[in-house]
């Protein structure tokens, strides 16, 4: 609605950035039609839907509309031209994002003052779309500007710091998800650390096994077929099935060998989870290691040999540095994948953030599910971002 006004206002709607325009329109439609927040008398019943205009104070939604108009005009060829319209997007979109978050917290605090202590304020569909759209706008603007990674990192850091400040200052404490957090504060810290520990203890062995296997696949063509066949097979087993399949044999092993039992290796818990995560992580690591070594030009290797480098010198000084960006790209895939898969590991008693999700699903408490899901997503995004920087740094200088 907002954007149609904008484009009708300018008689020649020469659209410069369709992505941006689509996002603004989508956000506007969502804000108009879907609920922004839901107000419920307690955590188990679904709440009453409340629209954006009602939930936010007038100054908040007026600014939101103005920001939407500004962003819509950025999507057109006039009045702003190419680079300045993207910079403007990079200013307006995060303001929108923060304002939506601020407004949500503001509403929750106001609404709860008059309601019973068990009343809950949850985010509605419109809220998610209104957060999602500006995020995509920012990514799109960066894509079009082709800014360097350092600048992108700094921008992201500032944005994350502002959002984190909203949480830390307690502005969002009125939300149901924050209530769940407050109720499970100690458990949350434990599960968060358990989640990280599971991911880390799977990635370590996966690297130790996967890197040499990747090198082997590169050096001995004959091993490739069998190796990738087995690893591909692991990858096709559904994760829940693999976790479950490991329980019985591990329980039997632990039963038979007291030594293993003393080490804490049991049929349920962390052991089967880590084994399964390693099995899933192997294929991307081996494949990327192989591809990385395979990508080193044959002439480079011939020159290295011709100048009298030993095989070890060629490996450490030439092959590994040149293969590293591809290997780290594999690690990036695997890390994000493991963070996600670890959620499922909660089913076999390994703990981690998945515990909240399954607990919440069992109790029909959607906010408890979100307490597990949102940090998992955030963790994956942060890990992805950090490893992306690492990949860029590992590229040969000058080729960055």
């Amino acid at each position: 609605m907002l954007s149609t006004q904008a484009s009708n206002g300018r008689t020649r709607p020469l659209v410069a950035n369709r992505v941006l325009l689509t996002l603004v329109i989508a956000a506007a439609i969502a804000a108009a039609l879907l609920s922004f927040v839901a107000m419920a008398p307690n955590r188990l019943v679904s709440g009453e839907s409340i629209n954006l205009i009602v939930a936010l104070r007038p100054w908040q939604w007026i600014i939101l509309i103005l920001l939407a108009l500004l962003l819509a005009s950025c999507a057109l060829t006039r009045p702003f031209s190419s680079p300045s319209s993207h910079y403007l997007t990079l200013i307006a979109a995060p303001l929108w994002l923060i304002l939506v978050l601020y407004g949500l917290g503001d509403y929750a605090n106001r609404a709860l003052q008059e309601a019973s202590p068990s009343a809950r304020v949850s985010q509605g569909a419109a809220f998610w779309i209104l957060v999602f759209c500006p995020t995509l706008m920012i990514l799109d603007a960066f894509q079009r500007l082709q800014t360097n990674l350092g600048l992108r990192g700094l921008y992201t850091l500032i944005l994350v710091a502002v959002v984190a400040a909203l949480f830390v200052t307690g502005h969002l404490d009125g939300l149901a998800i924050m209530h769940e957090y407050a109720n499970n504060r100690d458990q949350f810290a434990d599960e968060f650390i358990a989640h990280l520990r599971l991911v880390a203890s799977a990635l370590g062995p996966a690297l130790v096994i996967g890197l040499p296997l990747g090198l082997l696949a590169h050096r001995r063509a004959g091993t490739r077929g069998a190796l990738f066949g087995v690893l591909n097979f692991f990858q096709t087993i559904p994760s829940i099935a693999l976790f479950a399949l490991l329980v019985a044999p591990l329980a039997a092993l632990s039963e038979a060998l007291p030594l293993l039992r003393e080490l804490g290796i049991k049929g349920i818990g962390a052991t089967p989870a880590i084994i399964a995560l390693v099995m899933y992580a192997l294929l991307p690591i081996v494949r990327n290691t192989y591809a990385g070594f395979d990508g080193v030009a044959a002439t480079t290797l011939e020159a290295a040999r011709g100048m009298g480098m030993t095989s070890a010198q060629i490996l450490w000084r030439v092959e590994i540095p040149l293969a590293l960006p591809v290997i780290l790209a594999g690690l990036r895939i695997v890390t994000v994948q493991a963070i996600g898969l670890t959620v499922v590991a909660a089913l076999i008693g390994a703990g981690g953030l998945g515990a909240f999700i399954f607990q919440g699903l069992g109790q029909y408490a959607i906010d408890l599910v979100l307490l597990g899901a949102i940090p998992t997503i955030a963790l994956a995004v942060v890990a992805d971002f950090l490893l992306q920087i690492l990949v860029a740094l590992s590229r040969p200088p000058g080729a960055r």
Partner: protein
């Protein structure tokens, strides 16, 4: 000096290189040439044992290096290849410093050597030291590749079709530069190519291989005038044999005293259409040519001497002839480095005058 004795390579029962023996003396520019699959590259790569040899011995100077550990041997032999093989993750300076690094030279010596080599190839050290290979043009990368091969002052330099992948113009420049570097360093070079013109331009000795065997190993002029068999004759190419021969002959071999006109004003071009003479200034510089045009009825009877149609004593006769044809003159002035007229070289001379064999070979 490098000597190969009975070098043989057998793959799956088939001799790829069979009993190749040749000796390249210190400071010589040896070229291995032949059709593809003739074993020239294999021979070269057996020298630094990138390909292990089946049979034979290799001597570097007086030393038998056949049993030397391959890595040690390679550090004593420079190696440059077609696609340069520069390490993309290292700067130009780091690339050149590879072998000195393997030989554990100290930092200041290595750094000095890098600058020295960049200067040798007319690359400004300040500008190029810290560049990465992908920032170089093809010609620059190839120069760095050769500089890297020369870094540790090797006894022998092996080059495997180093100029095969650059454009013809750059190739010509690189060839000239290689000749200059060869002259300045006096290195023994073993160079593989499939381009006969390149071989004739660079080589002091050419080894022609066919089907794994050494067919003829001779100086270029002997290869052209006394081919060992029909294969060599056809490989050299019959069509422009005369021009190829002239590419190994030099203006000073054909040069004659210049006909300087005492009284240019009274030059009578009607006397004989073939008559001509040079007008020179007080410093002995050639000003113009009277007569001497390809056709008697050419309008201009007086032709200004310009740089494009002069010759120098070290120019090949092929180029001199080419200039005569292009500028439609019967005769070129031969100038010394101060642009003074020291002689002339004429069309009739190319046709009629055969330099004595001794004289022609003396240049080799």
């Amino acid at each position: 000096m490098i000597e190969l004795q009975g070098l043989t390579k057998t793959y799956a029962g088939k001799d790829v290189v069979k009993d190749v023996s040749l000796r390249i003396e210190s400071g010589e520019f040896g070229v291995l040439i032949g059709p593809s699959g003739c074993g020239k590259s294999t021979t070269l790569r057996m020298i630094n044992r990138l390909i292990p040899l089946t049979q034979g011995r290799i001597f570097l100077g007086e030393e038998d290096v056949t049993e030397l550990p391959a890595e040690q041997l390679r550090r004593r032999i420079g190696y440059a290849i077609q696609s340069t093989g520069l390490f993309p993750h290292w700067t130009v300076a780091e690339n050149i410093a590879v072998v000195p690094g393997l030989l554990k030279w100290d930092k200041s010596r290595t750094s000095q050597r890098v600058d020295e080599l960049l200067n040798l190839f007319h690359l400004d050290a300040g500008e190029f030291r810290d560049k990465y290979p992908h920032q170089l043009s093809g010609g620059q990368a190839q120069r760095v590749g050769v500089a890297r091969a020369l870094a540790a002052d090797p006894e022998v330099l092996l080059m495997d079709e180093p100029f095969g992948a650059v454009d013809p113009l750059t190739r010509d420049v690189l060839q000239n530069e290689m000749l200059r570097v060869h002259q300045q360093t006096g290195k023994t070079i073993v160079f593989v190519t499939h381009d006969m013109d390149e071989a004739l331009k660079l080589a002091s000795r050419i080894a022609i291989l066919n089907a794994g065997r050494l067919v003829q190993y001779d100086r270029p002029i002997e290869l052209l005038t006394q081919p060992a068999d029909d294969f060599v004759r056809s490989f050299i190419g019959k069509a422009d044999l005369g021009l190829k021969l002239l590419s190994r002959r030099w203006v000073h071999q054909y040069q004659q005293p210049a006909r300087v006109l005492e009284h240019p004003a009274s030059f009578d071009n009607d006397a004989a259409s073939a008559a001509y003479g040079w007008e020179v200034d007080a410093q002995g510089r050639a000003l113009c040519l009277h007569g001497g045009r390809l056709h008697a009825d050419e309008n201009e009877q007086r032709t200004q001497v310009t740089h494009e149609w002069t010759a120098t004593p070290d120019m090949t006769m092929k180029e001199a002839l080419s200039r005569m044809v292009w500028f439609r003159v019967m005769v070129l002035p031969v100038l010394d480095d101060k642009e003074r007229l020291v002689g002339e070289v004429a069309m009739q001379g190319v046709m009629g005058h055969e330099p004595s064999k001794q004289q022609a070979l003396g240049q080799e």
